[in-house]
Symmetry: C2
Subunit: 175 residues, 2 copies
């Protein structure tokens, strides 16, 4: 790797924050928080979880979720991630939660979801390339000791709260 | 500007999408959708609007809103934008809306808000550097012909709907 990119921290004209600006060519490397989109999929009194085949947290359980891509709506992103990671086609429902993870510059938009096309001959789900296995779990037999990320605990708790008390808008980070 | 950055479109190892990768040094220019955070501020039966001092849409009216920065929560970002653009300190309420503008790769998180610190001697608001003027508008005298962006129309409509019918969760893009 040569040194042709030569970033310096400075405030570009008309901006209010320091950015990485290449002293050679003027390229401004704007970095923005990233949006994670995902879904809590419920089916027959159970919830869908995926065991991660990739780092970070390989081998731990999560929901289908990933980074929103350019020119994608959050809803389309959540559906795409469920196809990729759980080979599942979903119907999305309410926005369950908006979590922020500022130390990772991440905002998560998590939807409630169910399987679409229940009358199909195809299996409802399977392990995509980024998943070691995918399964439906009873709510009282969740793999709570092997959950990949704190926000997965939060969304599972919040989904149960919606099931018990109804939907009153998206949850945020717990206190 | 020299040609030291030499981007090619290719899929980096372990990735699933094409990215701009510098053929000289390997730098991957990940581009992500951007998060706009803002607020609809109501006060004494009116709503706060700012007339933009910057492009795009200089001279047109909007709400205090802007891009979320790294390591910032959406709530902090919305409060910061209100300070910068309207010199206003706010209390945020419910998440009014989550809009997506996929052709701009933008997701907007818009909160309901009121002024904080009403008992202060300071004025409640003023024109920040990015605003030509800031004002409170009666709902039946909004500058509807001079609104900066379509989503501003949406959020004003949605705020009125919440005032009429109560809050039932965030709105999305209108049909």
């Amino acid at each position: 790797m040569d040194k042709s990119i030569n970033f310096r921290r400075l405030i570009p004209d008309g901006d209010t924050h320091e950015r990485d600006v290449c002293a050679s060519c003027g390229f401004v490397n704007y970095q923005n928080p990233r949006i994670v989109v995902g879904s809590v999929v419920r089916h027959a009194g159970k919830v869908l979880l995926c065991r991660r085949a990739i780092e970070p947290r390989r081998g731990f359980w999560t929901v289908p979720a990933g980074y929103l891509e350019l020119n994608e709506t959050p809803e389309h992103g959540a559906l795409r991630e469920a196809r990729e990671e759980a080979l599942a086609r979903l119907h999305l429902g309410d926005l369950l939660a908006v979590y922020s993870v500022p130390h990772l510059s991440q905002v998560q938009l998590i939807y409630r979801a169910e399987f679409a096309a229940l009358d199909s001959d195809q299996p409802l789900f399977g392990a995509g390339e980024e998943s070691l296995e995918v399964g439906l779990f009873d709510w009282d037999r969740l793999p709570l000791g092997d959950i990949a990320f704190p926000t997965v605990h939060w969304m599972l708790d919040h989904e149960r709260e919606v099931q018990a008390k109804g939907y009153h808008g998206p949850f945020g980070n717990p206190a």
